[in-house]
Symmetry: C2
Subunit: 319 residues, 2 copies
């Protein structure tokens, strides 16, 4: 096993590496995406990539993941340029994680054509020493046992935020509930709220989830916006309106990345800070769906982001 | 044919009746509603009733409709107390409009059990003289030919707002398009936007509708909120979160009534005024779904309405 950016690591013998504000543990993959209009060819994918792409707009990020020796590491250079620390990404012999899928009926549903886990099947997250006391730790939707292993490696992060898949709730619910108990913020989609709590009403469901551990629940409803359930009650956030969606893949991870990145950049991890961050993350998400994989956000400048945020603010502000 | 409140009319020989700020033309009915949890028995129904119930919170309303001689006119007293002018409601020999329906799967869909049009089948709107120059005219979802007849009876209202049903688009699209052309504000639901414009994307669809006449389009998405498309672009509005829905019947008409009533009360018919009114109407809608038919809003006081609006404002305000 080797690590990316070993040159950089070597350099840091005398100069200890900077502690990233946000550490993300998740998948690093390649995707092939078919939409009702066109196909992507091989593009960068994986929750850790999408999350880092978004979060690095606001703050320093350390990525943890695994890729095979076939992975186009050069394609991650855009992240490195935004000061994403890739020293937590292992390179292992074997194929990288590949996902191929198709969106149907105006993006209303999605089907998987193939999932080849490759080296991701044996992913054992092992955090570099300088990752072990981040401000924020984000556990993307990996197996709850791996999420727990990561939690055992960190020293008192100020905030632990987690995501999951329906699959993990199905096959490892007890383990997931343990992770949930140790988390501060849980990103759930509407179905996950219902599966976990048995509540059809999402607001009741989110309240029930708060009793299972996390102080904050963010329920993501795709084009229909999201809401935060917290100590101050409900905060309703909208999805930025987009006329021409190219590809929604990764928008959910980027949404989480936008929130965590903005929050870390502000410094104080408060509920009002999460509310503010949700607006910025909506704008991040809007750029995300305008390109395949991470491409929609790749070339976006801070000025463009700020302009669209001002537009968004005018769309939601009661005059 | 007789008119309701003839005593009042007689009184007004020397004292001309006040011109209502908002005039609504629509159905006045009785409904029997079955939900996944319970049934309503006979309750008041009809778009004009729900609209007036909401609008009269803010301003004076004149109702135009028709009922049979079996209609429980006493049950409309709560509207009269709120200064709704009922002199435009004809009473004709024969049965009143009756609708019976059932909500399924947590209110995700609805089926009609029976529709008995009764005297509503021959509804010929005939506006009382003092209704013919209102600030705002609202045409509920009646046949486009009737909507046109009403338009021909009024003298330059400051605003004409309209609603419709898919049925009218199916059976009388050319007539509906003429009404659309003569309107300032069109309340559409997401399906109607798609049927009328062929655009799947609601924002593109709403823009296309603006080219067909109205300056403003409000697209209603039920629990997922609504948006306004106007000269200043898009305004996104949320649905007030409700944990225990009793009956959504009439909430869409009440939403329109809340907007038109608040707008008329403010006096100036501006786009910013519509944006402000949408927030108040969300709160009106939230009370509406908490009871059968109009009951959810019947007993609500101004203080309760204002309190819930303040709560709502905190839920959407970026801190």
């Amino acid at each position: 096993m080797k690590k990316i950016a070993s040159a950089r690591k070597a350099r840091t013998i005398s100069n200890p590496p900077a502690i990233p504000s946000v550490v993300v543990v998740g998948s690093v993959a390649q995707d092939i995406i078919h939409t009702p209009f066109t196909s992507s060819g091989l593009v960068l994918g994986g929750s850790a990539v999408h999350f880092s792409n978004a979060a690095s707009f606001f703050t320093s990020v350390g990525m943890v993941g695994v890729v095979g020796d076939d992975y186009p590491l050069k394609d991650l250079d855009f992240l490195r340029k935004r000061k994403v620390d890739l020293s937590g990404v292992d390179v292992k012999p074997g194929p990288s994680f590949l996902w191929e899928g198709r969106y149907l009926e105006n993006f209303l549903s999605r089907e998987t054509i193939r999932t080849e886990l490759g080296v991701f099947a044996d992913f054992k997250p092992n955090l570099p020493q300088h990752y072990r006391s981040p401000k924020i730790l984000f556990l993307a939707a990996i197996h709850p046992q791996l999420q727990q292993q990561v939690l055992n490696q960190v020293h008192r992060p100020n905030m632990v935020a987690i995501d999951t898949f329906k699959l993990w709730i199905d096959v490892a619910k007890p383990e997931f509930l343990k992770v949930l108990k140790r988390s501060d913020l849980f990103f759930a989609n509407d179905d996950e709220v219902r599966w976990l709590t048995g509540e059809h009403n999402l607001f009741k469901g989110a309240q029930a989830l708060r009793k299972m551990g996390p102080k904050w629940i963010i329920v993501k409803k795709g084009e229909h916006g999201s809401f935060l359930m917290g100590e101050q009650g409900i905060f309703l956030s909208n999805t930025y309106p987009i006329s021409d969606v190219v590809d929604p893949t990764g928008a959910g991870d980027a949404y989480a990345g936008g929130i965590m990145g903005h929050l870390a950049a502000e410094g104080r991890l408060t509920e009002n800070g999460i509310r503010r961050a949700m607006g910025w993350a909506s704008v991040i998400g809007s750029f995300y769906v305008e390109g395949f994989g991470p491409d929609g956000l790749k070339q976006v400048t801070r000025t463009q982001l700020q302009k669209r945020y001002r537009d968004f603010y005018r769309m939601i502000q009661v005059p």
